[in-house]
Amino acid sequence: MVKQLFIIITLVFLVIMLLPLMTEVKPFEDLSLVSQKYVNAGPDELGSQNLVTAVVVTYRGLDTLGEVAVLFIATAGIGFFLRKKAVEEKDMKSKASVLVRTGTALLLPLILLLGVYIFLHGHLTPGGGFQGGVVIASGILLLMLAQSDIKINISLLYWIESLSGAFYVIIGILGLALAGGFLDNRFLPLGDFGRLFSAGAIPIIYSLIGLKVGAELVGILNNMQRSQ
Amino acid sequence: MDFKPIQILYALWSFSIILNIGLVLQGIVRKIGARVGRRYGIRFYQPYIDIVKNYSLRSSITHGVMFYLGPVFRLTGGMGVYFFTPIIYGSVYFGNFSFAGDIVLVLYFIFFGSLGMALGAGEGGHPYSAIGVGRGLAQVTAAEIPLVMAIIGVAMHYESLSVTEIVAAQQGGIMNWTLMTNPLITILGLIAFLGAMMRSPFDVVLAPQEIPIGPPTEYHSSFLGVMQTNRSVFPMAKTVLFVNIFFGGATNWAAMILKIFLLYMWPVVVGVVFPRFRVDQSIRWWYKYALPLGVVAILVTQYF
């Protein structure tokens, strides 16, 4: 109990310490210097309707590349960590109910389609590569729940993951070589504002991210499931 | 103070005088000691007989040259103390070799003999001689504490280390003696004299009861003769030194002999009255009583 008391006291002091963040910090009245530029010049410079996407993929593209890398590392780490174990078949015998299986068969194509839609329209509407990738992975998860004995084609995952990652980097280099800098999307024509084929390389990048994220998450799920 | 070869002859002449004084005094003192102990005692010229007898004996075995070193060191030590001390103030004949060094030299020469003796005794291979030497050295180092302090005191008092200058400063009557001008230092000196003379209660090395074969008796025949010579000369040399620094020295032999005799009686009297200390008791005594007294004497000399 003494320990609990200590913890409570510490947390109380932490709250007291953080108090100025609640009392003194007012939300923005107006856009910050940087975001004003993004909002005002962003659509013209990058041709992306969704400014968040513009920021994510281009202005702060390195962050995103890093983010992809983090996810990639986590996947690799988990793969590295959870060594293949002999799958205990008896655990895998239990099958999901008919309801789930039928529902899965019905929903899976739709879910995958939705995922692809989300990352392809990342520069136009809310959403993007990560969101799309996660939706795709959720579809596969559903599949795994429905058919627990399903074998995921690991090497296909590898190929998707590796190649989409590599292409992402190559696009970055193209930006460096052909346009203003690493990860600059403007080496492709910006196209008409608001169209699917616009905003230079952003849709391509987001597609690659979507594929990669999807593949990675599936890989993580697969690894974790198999090690249970 | 240039050296002239004739000084060697002067020194030898002075040496023969002091040797005789020493022998006679030795005899007299032993007689006194015997009479106090209600014994008849020896004849006062017995030391002469002994020394002649011993010198005429020859040793038939030897433990090697190192064994010789004991007596040689011993006698050299005793003679050195004497030779480096000026005897008669103002006399060209009896200044000895005091030009070579001052009172510090004399002080350290006292040790020359002890150390050499110890070496020689060690070579003899007798276990008791080592014990005796160990005790003797321990005792001497402790007993020299007041001596050293007294000499520092005297040097402070006269601002000189030269025996000749110290004696010169005491000329002109008893009131100029250190005894009168600085009694505390003199008391310290007299205590030191007890230790230096190696008589009871500080007579550890020579105690035949404790060391059946102490250094003096390990050596026989002419070795013993040499040692006996030293036993006559060495105390005399020390006495002369004390006379010089505390009792005004002397301008002629008569005064010197008188002073030597009186001063020599002091340890004799103490010796017959007090029993002997054990070595550790004696060491402790020197550190416990003589050392503080020395500190007081030096402080008094320094500040009053």
């Binding site: 953080l18 856009l31 993004y38 968040v52 962050d63 890093g66 | -």
Partner: protein, 114 residues
């Protein structure tokens, strides 16, 4: 949007509470997730401007004065993904710990100390 800021901080503290008091490793990880979520809420709350809309410059939104700050939105996206990765890794650790010792009590893993 003060309410969201406060909510975010409450979530952070709540998450910490869970991390500090729960003994089950999975629950500790859940605590971490809650704390992470609180942080994300805080990020979002920072970018919000009263009475404005999402920064998607379609026909419905005419000019710059009508949208909120896009930067925190972009940041939160990154933060969420990273949080996901870290949580996944933590769970993997939990799996491995359970595999080795068949226990998920944090008090059972004290081999290394001092």
């Amino acid at each position: 949007m003060l309410i969201i800021t406060v909510l975010g901080i409450i979530l952070v503290v709540l998450g910490l509470w869970g991390m500090l008091t729960q003994k089950n490793i999975i629950k500790i990880i859940i605590g971490f997730s809650i704390m992470d979520t609180g942080t994300h809420l805080l990020i979002v709350s920072i970018g919000y401007i009263k009475d404005r809309t999402a920064p998607i410059m379609d026909k419905a939104v005419g000019n710059a004065s009508q949208v909120i700050d896009p930067v925190p939105s972009a940041l939160v996206l990154t933060a969420i993904v990273i949080g996901l990765a870290v949580t996944a890794l933590m769970l993997t650790y939990a799996i491995k710990l359970f595999e080795i010792r068949k226990s998920l009590d944090i008090n059972d893993f004290k081999e290394l100390k001092w």
